[in-house]
Symmetry: D2
Subunit: 401 residues, 4 copies
């Protein structure tokens, strides 16, 4: 059943799907249940409440949709907008590109603001568009919080400030797929109208839940949104929320219990501690890249991502060969460069239920691979840089003090 067994544990450092912690695997190791019994709604009720915490919202309404991030995107758009609506969308990498492609296929009038891959969303252009839009033709701003292809984190608080500065009523729709539960995200404070993530990212679950959270304003927008939608229609959920049965169709029992366990782990560690851990992992990775003499695909420090680092390789190296070799020789899974940066970057995902020694094992592996493919790296240099930082910053594990 395992096509490609290798000795020891697979070192999974793609930016999703990520490592599932054992307590979550255990929680999901179960038979199906009748989702119409009193148990599943009781479980769901608490989950829906607790999920708000990962969005830092009290006013939002979460939906746990049996889908992927792509479906979550579709849900965010079709529930709040009508075909032909003008939306401003930032193209900064493969995942923002795919979302824009979806937006166009869903027949919105997409006003694309493009940046070089490796840069963040161009908020100056946004500002000029908002300034020019006194007629409020822009119905929504769509932005990827963390572009997984290039390791770029956008500053959402600035987007909110611009909208506020221009008193612009556009909805703010945020793809938080590779940020939520790992990078600071504040739905209420930043006035995000729809935020979304996928279970296989920082929540450290299997793929299968698109977790979407809608602000009251977004819910209001559903009333006039004319996009055709059925499977992704929030109103079907809201109807069953009111009935107390919660599910318009069959949920995955295993993922519900898995989500319960994943939230328990997050809350036990403390969401802020989780975010701090990701900052540690991200910083250490960047220090290693620097020590190797390589460049980060992300062009400015303000955009550095704490969940994924895209590493530029010298022109004489094919980054895909690094990824292949990682897997074939070291049982290490790294992320490929995608589209425009294919062959030029490889990616280290450092998100989810992951600790520092796991990352150091990965970094040590990357060093050997770099040497394999002819890059003159000094073995141990990246690990040393990362360790020096870690040794100063890792806290004691609270339950073990």
């Amino acid at each position: 059943m395992d096509y490609v067994y290798g000795p020891g544990r697979n070192h999974l450092f793609v930016p999703g799907p990520v490592n599932i912690p054992e307590p979550v695997l255990r929680a999901m190791n179960r038979n199906n249940e009748d989702y119409r019994s009193p148990a599943v709604p009781a479980l769901t009720k608490i989950l829906v409440e607790d999920v708000k915490k990962i969005f830092k919202t009290t006013s939002g309404t979460p939906f746990l949709i049996p889908t992927t991030g792509t479906g979550a995107w579709e849900s965010a758009l079709t529930n709040t907008l009508s075909p032909g609506d003008r939306i401003v969308s930032f193209l900064i990498g493969q995942f923002s590109l795919l979302w824009i492609d979806q937006q166009q296929r869903l027949k919105f009038n997409v006003d694309v603001v493009e940046s070089d891959w490796g840069q963040g969303a161009n908020l100056e252009v946004l500002e000029s568009k908002l300034a020019a839009d006194s007629a409020h033709t822009i119905k929504a701003i769509c932005i990827v919080h963390n572009e997984t292809a290039t390791g770029v984190t956008n500053d959402l608080s600035k987007v909110r400030r611009l909208l506020d500065d221009y008193r612009h009523p556009a909805l703010l729709l945020v793809d938080g797929v590779s940020s939520i539960c790992a990078i600071d995200f504040r739905m209420d404070e930043w006035g995000v109208d729809v935020a979304l993530t996928g279970s296989q990212k920082a929540l450290s679950l299997p793929t299968g839940l698109g977790i979407v959270c809608a602000s009251p304003k977004a819910l209001e927008a559903t009333k006039t949104a004319k996009s055709v939608r059925v499977f992704f229609d929030w109103n079907d959920y809201l109807k069953f929320y009111k009935l107390g049965t919660y599910w318009p169709y069959t949920p995955s029992i295993q993922l519900l219990y898995g989500l319960r366990a994943a939230l328990d782990l997050l809350f036990e560690e403390g969401l802020d501690n989780v975010i701090a851990r990701h900052k540690r992992l991200g910083t250490a990775t960047r220090l290693a890249v620097e020590a190797w003499g390589l460049k980060n695909c992300t062009q400015k420090e303000e955009w550095f991502s704490d969940t994924v680092t895209a590493v530029l390789v010298p022109p004489y190296i094919d980054s895909a060969e690094i990824v292949r070799r990682a897997w074939k020789r070291y049982n290490l899974s790294l992320g490929l460069g995608l589209n425009k940066v294919a062959g030029k970057v490889f990616r280290i995902g450092h998100l989810g239920n992951l600790n520092e020694l796991q990352l150091l094992g990965c970094l040590a592996g990357v060093e050997m691979i770099l040497k394999d493919v002819g890059y003159p790296v000094k073995l141990g240099s990246g690990v040393a840089a990362a360790s020096a930082y870690f040794q100063n910053t890792i806290p004691l594990i609270p339950s073990r003090i």
Copy 2:
């Protein structure tokens, strides 16, 4: 974590989600993997090939969509039809009703053919519509193979015959959610254009895969189908099938390995033996119902379902109380009566990886509950009727002879 633990094993007899066999649970008990590594496409390639067997098709193209049955419905419709298209759809129970509701919300021109709940699709009306439609305004026939709410199985071969008789080019779209892998289904022989099922039904997996299979004619129809679709767009899959990477977005690694295990079990038992086992389970259940002096919601033998039996209770009994009591006292999960038959029927699901003694335990439980709620059943009567039939028909387990 378990909200409502009761001693012993839960007896799961809802018509989905159904019991997951241990080998499938084992196969899914695993960490995430990089779905872009060579392993996952290699696994998917064989799955896509093997899944054809459960549809009995060689020419069809399967899609393993991370969604539920509702999403699979949407995928079947939006990939093959355009808004405004006339479709004939049969309303015979809650699930056909929900599909029709979806069809209407997706803006098709739905020509509803209604039957009493408990009857099958009215094919005479279909015939007259086909006869009258020399202009071929009917673009598709939508039919639920097995209506899970009433336990009614429609005769798909007759539908095909009518279409052939009138040389009508309408697409034949079939909901096989509660039939495929349990009730004889022949995609190619019956000229089904889109067939679909959900992983949590007779495949005995968790919820999370909508498995859709498209005929060449259905694939051809995608070229002109104007329904807006992105997440459910088959073309995105086909593009990645061609590339050999298979996935337009992240699949559930666990469900892929689970599907592999589930298919292995089906093939080891033999699909025809699986169908024969369901026929035994269905027949035995009906014999028990008869022995209890109760009526089957299904009005004629030709429509009897081998995966679910909806049992009519006398007017002085609330069938919901039976379901509640089953759960509260006997750790038995039965299906509620839905919508028009709420309070009037309870349902016994007898599908998936289930054997005769499991069913007999359930039937014995139902007898006690009937007595609990005041119905003068003779305890043991249904079990005796079912056992008598089983004792004559159960084959030896081949691997143990």
Copy 3:
């Protein structure tokens, strides 16, 4: 990997190993851990405390030995006795026979009190021996609380009363392998000096823990007991108990967490409710046997076992054929007749985490098998008798009311 897969769930009705509940399987689904870290002793400390409850002791000292019931026997004997010591031991079936065989091989002077298989321990003979033993040559009484081979439960309170009546200081060593956690057992009240069980019995765990509990008097006896012992030596445990590290050698991490989960389930249900449930299951089984017109191997009601029923078959039937057929045709696992009753009885184990509908499925299966092998049973008769009793006695599941 599964040599003999059959559809649906295996119906496991041997008197051990028994069905493992899902929460226990989940708890054990884990990697190894360093048993010298602070976590494992912390876990063990509470386990050792909590395990006392299943023995109903406050003064006893439990040992969780990585062994089977046979090893637990050896531990009970060698820690408290010296070679040549006279012990009175009751031979009433295969398991008491095996224990006696062990006692003889360990060089004790075994005074065997034999009964017909199907009868309990002959306490009149014990009384006469005690009466005659004013010199206190008898060092221990060894008795199986529940003889698994014949379904006979001995009355331990009577044994204690006899010892008290004659003010006899003999140790009372009790095999509670198939009784503890299922049949009322009171270590302190009955003055039991060593009690023992195995994890795979009513605790519903995998095999691997021999759980032994020693009274202060038994611990005192270790000081003079000259039997050679190392692996089974309680003093090695006591030494590590004092150090707070608990383990003289490596324990099974999985079984420790499994035991934690198993105890949690027992305590949630309530030990007395668990015992009452076993009484219901035992009574119902006996009613079924009666309804079938068959005889219980147990010759008097006072000895009826609530964990296992040995059913006598007519002389023209080979009971082994019943067991074979159960497995080959019905995926049902029944207990063979052993030694003297081989071919004459088959056994239904009804212990552990088991509920009434599971048992009824088994009973329905037994009826079909009886018919298969030519016994003129009325199908449904046993189920009816058992159901009638259950329907009057099953309580609501507290967590679901």
Copy 4:
């Protein structure tokens, strides 16, 4: 249930119990089964055959005893020897000490040959004893192949050569607990009479199986061995081997399937490749220790162990603090120094289903801890040394080429 959860994966580098690979966890994730059904003996039969391969024997007879390594020791001794028998036993560390303690408590006449901890067995003394023993009073040589407390591997071929040189008939009993499946071991070639290991060591299973293999000469010795034994008596196994039922008492179903999976993994990788991988892991660890400027507890290269490295710390550091800190701050489990070397060494276990990047993560962790406790290590130095070696020696994973 998890007393001391820490984020990410526990880095388990104690020399047992070791990491369990996912396929083995999956194989063990199962309900109990009737061990008297035809399935379990069929499974056992093949296991007993396949287990011979890990001992490199064709003539040996394996016993899969539900016990730990301590029990396996007892089984080796009591089945082959009589109280009072003279045995030569080497004291070179904590585990040989414990075995000798057992030998003495079992009443053998133990002729202890002591070495400094950190040295191997003194074979010169053995030679002189053999030379002097023309009367063949020495009945057995007991030797630990790999002393887990000090990381010392003894040369068994030399022991055999000495026995042969002096034509001495003493039995050769070998503790292979931390060597078998990881360090080259050749039962037949080296004329080992009893070899044994535990499931939680290089086999990478949970604790619970003591795996013992007896040569024909050892089996012959059982006939005259007068040591009292019941639970550990091989003859009880042999009796059931002959009957084809295999088990004198209840085995752990889960461990049997786990062993099947563990052997499958070993055979897929190839036993010689597994041994080569351990040699790589051991060599790399030693290179790291050297780079750190620390000393190996093992005093000569000929004794270097490929499964565990005991690292000497400077006198101003308490090695126990290193182990505590590893666990509390880095989620890393290292081995304590035991007995004579307590406080002086910490141990890195590098055995079982483990790969190079896992080890590098551990080594990076050790570096930080060394710095934490005030040792002036150059961060990255050990990793660099190990990586340089790995980068030259790691083969491609065959299934992924």
